[in-house]
Every structure is written in C-alpha cells, then in structure tokens.
Amino acid sequence: MFDWIQNIADWIVYDVINLDKEQHLAEALNFFIYDTTKILILLFVVIFFMGIVNSYFPIDKVKNFLSRNKLYGLEYLVASLFGVVTPFCSCSSVPLFIGFVRGGIPLGVTFSFLITSPLVNEVAIGLFVGLFGIKTTIIYVISGVLLGTISGFILQKLKLERFLTPWVKEVLVNAQRDQDRFQSEKQNLKQRLPIIWAEVMNILKGVIPYVIVGIAIGALMHGYIPEGFFEKYMSKDNLFAVPIATILAVPMYSNASGILPVVQVLVAKGIPIGTAIAFMMAVVGLSLPEAMLLKKVMTMKLIAVFFGVVSLCIIISGYLFNIIL
C-alpha cells in the first residue's frame, strides 16, 4: 500500500541527492522521508475520521449520557471508549474532571475517561498504524481501553472521595444527575465539515513539529545504531525491564506524536515491544506537569494513589504485550 512512498524516497535520496546506498546518512534520510510522508498521510486520515465522530459525540453529550444512564458496571468501559473519541488536551483535564463530578458521575468512571483519553486518541492511533501496522494497533487500542476501564474500577473501589480538595468536595455534595439538557446542534454533515476541517488542520499543525523531530531522532538512531543493540541490556527475560522502563517514564512528558517514532526505532533495535509500549504509555499518560494540574482538584495522596494504580496497570500490560507479541 505504501510502496509508492518508498519509491519516492529512494528516488529523492539515491537519484536526486545522489547519495551512496551504503552510507548511514543515505539510509537515515531515506527512512526519514518515507516515514514522515506515510505518517502524515495516516494521521490526516485518522484525525479527520475521528473529527467526524467527535462532532456527533461532543463532550457534553458524553457527560450527560454517563450521568443519566445506569449502566450496571459497564460505565467504566463506556467512559473509557468515550475517552478514545474525545481529543485530549491536558489543559482541559481539570474542567473536565469537575464537569464530570458535578454531573454525579462516580470518581472511578471519571478516572477511566481521563486515563484512556491521552493514551488512545486520534494522533496515537494514526501514528501506531504507520509505525507498527494494523495488528499491533488493534492490540494497543484494546489494551489502552482495558487499562482505563480496570484502573477506573480499582480507583472507585478505593473510595477516594475524601482525598479530593475541599472545594471539589463541595461540588461533589451539590452534584446532580441529569441537571442540564444538552442543546445538540441539528446540523448535517455538510454544515459540520468546515468546523471539522478547521479542527483537523489545527491538530495536524500542532503535532507536525513533534512528529518530524521524533522521526528525525528515530531516523538517526535507525541509521547509526546497529540492529539488536539493546537486546543485550533489555531482553524479554529481564523481568525488571518493564517496571524500570515504566517508572523512569512517569515523570517525563511528551505527547504520543513525539515519543512514538522513537519507540518504534527502539523496538526495531531489539527492545521488546511490551517494554517499549509500557514506557510510551507512562510517558504519555502520566507526567509531572499533569500532576501539577491535578493538584487543583486532588490532594497529593490521591494523585499518588492514582499514579500508583495506573503505573501498576501499565506494568502489567507491558508484560502482557511481551507475551502476546
């Protein structure tokens, strides 16, 4: 399907710039051109498709749905799935949190949404297909959704409401289900398209620099680090690799677009995919900046429990990935 891009990359590097095939620089440049082109095309397709879905399921509708319906345990899964179709912006996580709590949505269900949203979204999916193929993408999406579902469920069982900051507790007391009817816009797809299009362009513009820098770093590593380089240090047999990768990654922050191209090269050079994905999930899903934002609504104790539970689930899914893939 993407052979034509490879042909273009070959033509530019070997014919136009006239580099020798044996050179590291040629290989790195070829990889860079091929990967950037392929990934930008895939990103565009996935972001556009998700934009349409999101236009019909805006966040207010999601909140009202979760707030109004009794789902008998399925609410964690539903919240997690909604997290996939909602574009995530870390600066919205606090207003979102309060909005959910105010709507009477249980804390655990809110967490399910907040955990899945940054992990599995249009940008992550587009990149994953481009870098790892469809099969790994499907497994990643399913495990991301399950991770949010299960972590949310566990966090609910821990009864953490008492560790919210005082003003949020007040919001919690006054929470009401079904408080406001959402005025859904009665527009057909043709009327929606200009707004969706503008959003797609905004998202693309936002991620392109990260993708290009990520792929450039990846391309350098691709051309210069020998195959199997990491295998010596991080083999599947090393049981500590997954937890260490996860714990190292928690304080770091990057969005999916910056970290994924690097992760792909790590995998190509011998790091087991489960270890690499655990690393990536911890970078994208948990970070110090996010903890600072959440301090407005949660006490440090709650943030610690939240991070602890999610890290644990990431470590478990890292091991699972290493076994399955």
Binding site: C89, S92, P95, G99, F100, W167
Partner: protein
Amino acid sequence: MTKSIKILGTGCPKCKTMTGIVQDVVAEHNINATVEKIEDIMEIMKFNVMTTPALVIDDVIKIKGRVPSKNEVLSLLK
C-alpha cells in the same frame, strides 16, 4: 452598548491563541467591547464548560474547546 467578552482558559497555548484572535478582531473593527481573560479554575467552572478555551459574549457561551477563526469571531460580535 459595550459588549462584554470573556475568554475562559487555564493558560494553555490554545487559550492564548484565542485571546490574541479576539483582541485582534476587536481592535481591527473598532468594536465597542471589553475583553477579559479568566484563568481561575473556580471562575471558569461557574460557566459550566468542560473544554477550554471557551468564548463568552455577554454571558452566553458561544464557543468551547476550539480556536475560532477571525471571521467566526467577527460574525459572533456583530
């Protein structure tokens, strides 16, 4: 009558972009309006929005969770 424009946002890049666009539109078209940026989360939550940035004109939420174009802002202010 002076219009009251409020921009709700906790200080993320998108919120800054929106503030810039709104201020430009107001200045370029000599619109009689006050532009106020609200960054305090407690204040923001009074408007019941869950995605920022949000644009509030005369206490009505017009746009939330996305950055509008200049033309869109202009048509909302007319």
